[in-house]
Symmetry: C2
Subunit: 234 residues, 2 copies
Amino acid sequence: MRYQLFYWPEIQGRGEFVRLALEDAGASYEDVARKAGGVSRMMKMMDGEKRPPFAPPFLKAGKLVIAQSAEILFYLGPRLKLAPRADADRLWLHQLQLTVTDFVKEAHDTHHPLGAEFYYEDAKPEAKRFTDNFLAERTPKYLGYFETVIKKSGGPYALGRKFTYVDLSLFQSIEGLRYAFPKAMTRIEVGLPRVVAVHDKVAARPNIKKYLASSRRIAFNEMGVFRRYPELDD
Amino acid sequence: MRYQLFYWPEIQGRGEFVRLALEDAGASYEDVARKAGGVSRMMKMMDGEKRPPFAPPFLKAGKLVIAQSAEILFYLGPRLKLAPRADADRLWLHQLQLTVTDFVKEAHDTHHPLGAEFYYEDAKPEAKRFTDNFLAERTPKYLGYFETVIKKSGGPYALGRKFTYVDLSLFQSIEGLRYAFPKAMTRIEVGLPRVVAVHDKVAARPNIKKYLASSRRIAFNEMGVFRRYPELDD
């Protein structure tokens, strides 16, 4: 199966959680919107589908069109050997991924607390108040939860001995947070040896190393989910 | 199968999307935290499970414990005859439900734009700015999307002729928004005949009518997702 991924071409964003799974598995895929004319192909699909996605990312797999990054990963997981086939395990991984989704939404809101329609510059004091709470309360709570999950699974991965797409998403979350909040993350990571170990194991995977060094990996920037505004960091 | 639902006892919140499905289907369930000692039973489960939920709501179904309202509905859908069994249909409904989830999160953030840890009174101007944008841009965008979905399906429901849990969630979204923003919703609903028709069909379903008139339906209040602060409305 050759997959087609549709996502904004200039950011990692929510599409990156899917890209990492496709890349780690060595899957055959086209990153449609990054080719000439690709964004208009993407917009046409969104308008034209009988079952239209609300927003990118979405994946075309044969006749299926699937949106929402967590759902795309739920679908791809067993097909890419990045999830077991048993229903109970798949539901548990999906539950974890939906919690990653909630966390990533809050990470996005650090720079856009009043809505994505505002410019960052028009809500800076609000962004600071949001981020102070995000780094003091929310990030330790979410990452502490994943630390507990890995501990209870027996480790080294979120599911235990089996490596899954959730580990890839934890890697991406840590990478993004380190980019956006390097000082705060130095402090927060102290209590998270298992989460950091998952991050490091992912970074050492051959397909991921190749991908991160390639031009297919878009650099972090100030248009994506994770943005570096030093005034927001600790 | 007798289900156990775990959710905060004093609010509709995210648990209500699950309750409506259980009630419409006439399923046998226990609303655990609303009984004496139930909240501490819920907290114990969250601590004790080998695969712990991040937050309520969660559902116990035999040995399975499933969290995240959209995932609970994905699981319950075919079992309660509120979703078809075909994978493509189930994935599509889940995608719609995840979009409801995103929308409900934004509805929550109207009164808590800087994070749930702040008091409403400590971020009132921010709540007003968030809500103005939510009512001008976001609500018409989300509900307009569902209007398009129903139109493309052929109607009268989100999936077409088959009634599903997504219709119940659209009902709940409209009910909540009408409670929170009665003036704005009068304006916004004008362009949404199909969404409003789904709402009305749900309200007329015998099991839903019985449920809404019962003490099992918690009244809307200023602790839940949808809150009435008149200063935030149009």
